[in-house]
């Protein structure tokens, strides 16, 4: 087995907030079938807060644990607070990730940011640094680190 922290194993064995939101306000999908991790995040927003968050993930243990942790970190937070969630923060909350799995934490944060961007654009809300920029291109070789 890969050397995962206890926290990663907990989230992997019983991931929180798994699922889809049929009438989601924002959806963010990131994926890279070559290195094999794909995530779709769904958010429900009320009064600028992430009222509910769910996701579906295809990937390794780290990818699943990262998705679960990201959902925990942003649930109930304002959009601005949620946007401060970085891959490093996710990895830290998971008590670290193996070096060759760090890209999984990028994917989690990316998918969430994408869902927020999708919500903002749908509702014509300007979020500086997010909606005024082109969607960042996915790093096709993120897995080859």
């Amino acid at each position: 087995m890969p050397v995962y922290s206890e926290k990663v194993m907990q989230h992997f064995m019983s991931p929180h907030n798994v699922g889809e939101i049929a009438d989601a306000d924002g959806v963010g999908e990131v994926g890279n079938p070559v290195c094999g991790d794909m995530m779709t995040f769904y958010i429900k927003v009320k009064d600028n807060r992430i009222e509910d968050v769910k996701y579906k993930t295809f990937g390794c243990g780290a990818a699943i644990a990262v998705s679960s942790m990201v959902s925990d970190l942003v649930k109930g937070k304002t959009l601005e607070e949620a946007l401060t969630v970085t891959p490093a923060m996710v990895a830290k909350e998971l008590e670290g990730l193996p070096k060759n799995k760090m890209h999984c934490s990028n994917l989690g944060a990316q998918a969430l940011h994408k869902a927020i961007r999708n919500y903002a654009i749908n509702n014509k809300i300007d979020i500086p640094g997010l909606t005024d920029k082109e969607e960042p291109e996915e790093d096709e070789h993120a897995c080859e680190t």
Partner: protein, 388 residues
């Protein structure tokens, strides 16, 4: 059910090794009684290994691993024949110890042609023969794949190679000790095998080279192993390899029958109980203990972790399970796409496994697969497409 990674040492093998970890600690090269005991063990093992593959004892060189034996065969034979030509043919699904050896040779001016495989992982003998040129000095095609279990038509390939043309090596690490291997019937010049693939010790392996074939050593040193493989002999490992070879030969038929039966039970069970599952490798020409699959919409490492939580050990060729994060080159060469390769699984059965184990896997695997599919965006997309 991961015997390809590590097979348990047979108690008889362990017993055969113990004296050489204890009282018989001598160096086989020494000219005294302590050396004699060690030398007898090494030469006895050489006879046992030769008998397993139908070769002569003096044609067997002990090495530290299958990887070393493959390196020695590819580099040692190609380099010794460089004056005749600098072209090599190998299959696309060789083990990295063969593929990367050919890469090293490319830096020395050799050209390498890769023989493709079909969707079952089988090399076409006619294609191999078609790649052979007047300057081809070596052809190497593995006897059986350690990833999908497909057994290659080695004798047919040998029959198609031009006489006085290239020499023919096979990596029999996955097959030797598990199916019948006879160097004469297969028409070989060199063959690699490893003890840990048939319940011998790790660190025990051998390269068989037909009498008269020149091969350059990888290491410079003294006269051990006829100068082909210098370095003080690992007597306990060699003694263990010899014993494992003797047992493998003795028990081959019964073991093949038992493992093929369990394998077919596992294959039939997985294919019928797990939706969207497919067998990888050849449906008939496959190693007795090998059951390998692709399970759609989910990823191998996650499957392995959940199986492990149920006490089941298996393997996968998914990108996420490899340290290099690359999907198995064997599966990709068979035309399996990256997404499907992510859900690849390999169960390798050994003499310790029984029907109860197979039934347990058949109970747990569908649950694990279902659980991961419930959270897979690929699966929900598929379901929506089916509905729409």
């Amino acid at each position: 059910m991961d015997n390809v990674a590590a097979s348990p040492l047979l108690p008889e093998v362990r017993e055969a090794m113990l004296p050489y970890l204890g009282e018989i600690f001598g160096n086989p090269q020494s000219l005294h009684d302590w050396g004699d005991g060690a030398r007898e063990a090494v030469e006895g093992a050489r006879e046992q290994v030769a008998a397993l593959i139908g070769g002569a004892p003096e044609e067997v060189t002990f090495t530290s691993s299958g990887t070393e034996a493959n390196n020695m065969a590819i580099k040692g034979i190609a380099r010794a024949r460089a004056d005749r030509g600098k072209h090599i043919v190998v299959s696309a699904i060789e083990h990295f110890s063969v593929l990367n050896s050919t890469r090293t040779l490319q830096k020395e001016g050799f050209e390498v042609s890769l023989a493709p495989v079909d969707s079952n992982g089988t090399v076409d003998p006619a294609e191999v023969a078609g790649l052979v040129r007047p300057d081809t000095v070596l052809v190497s095609v593995m006897h059986a794949s350690g990833e999908v279990g497909t057994v290659q038509p080695i004798a047919e390939i040998a029959a198609r190679l031009p006489k006085d043309g290239p020499l023919f090596h096979t990596d029999a690490v996955a097959s030797a000790g598990n199916i019948a291997v006879n160097v004469k019937e297969l028409g070989l010049h060199a063959l690699s095998l490893a003890g840990n693939q048939f319940n011998g010790p790790r660190g025990s392996a051998a390269l068989w080279v037909r009498r008269g074939v020149r091969i350059l050593p990888l290491l410079d040193g003294g006269i051990q192993e006829g100068g082909r493989r210098p370095g003080t002999e690992d007597v306990p490992a060699i003694a263990g390899l010899g014993k494992a070879a003797e047992i493998a030969r003795r028990d081959l038929d019964g073991r093949m029958k038992k493992l093929s039966g369990l394998r077919d039970m596992l294959i039939d069970g997985v294919l019928s109980k797990v939706e969207h599952s497919s067998l990888t490798g050849h449906p008939v020409n496959r190693l007795p203990g090998y059951a390998s699959f692709c399970l759609r919409f989910i990823e191998g490492e996650a499957i392995l972790m959940l199986l492990n939580s149920h006490g089941i050990a298996a393997a996968s060729g998914s990108a996420c399970t490899s340290r290099a994060l690359k999907a198995s080159h064997v599966l990709l060469a068979m035309g399996i796409n990256h997404e499907l390769a992510q859900g690849s699984m390999l169960f390798t059965l050994g003499p310790d496994n029984n029907e109860e184990d197979v039934n347990y896997v058949l109970e747990k695997l569908p649950q694990v697969v279902d659980r991961l599919r419930q959270m897979s965006p690929l699966y929900s997309k598929y379901l929506k497409e089916q509905k729409g």
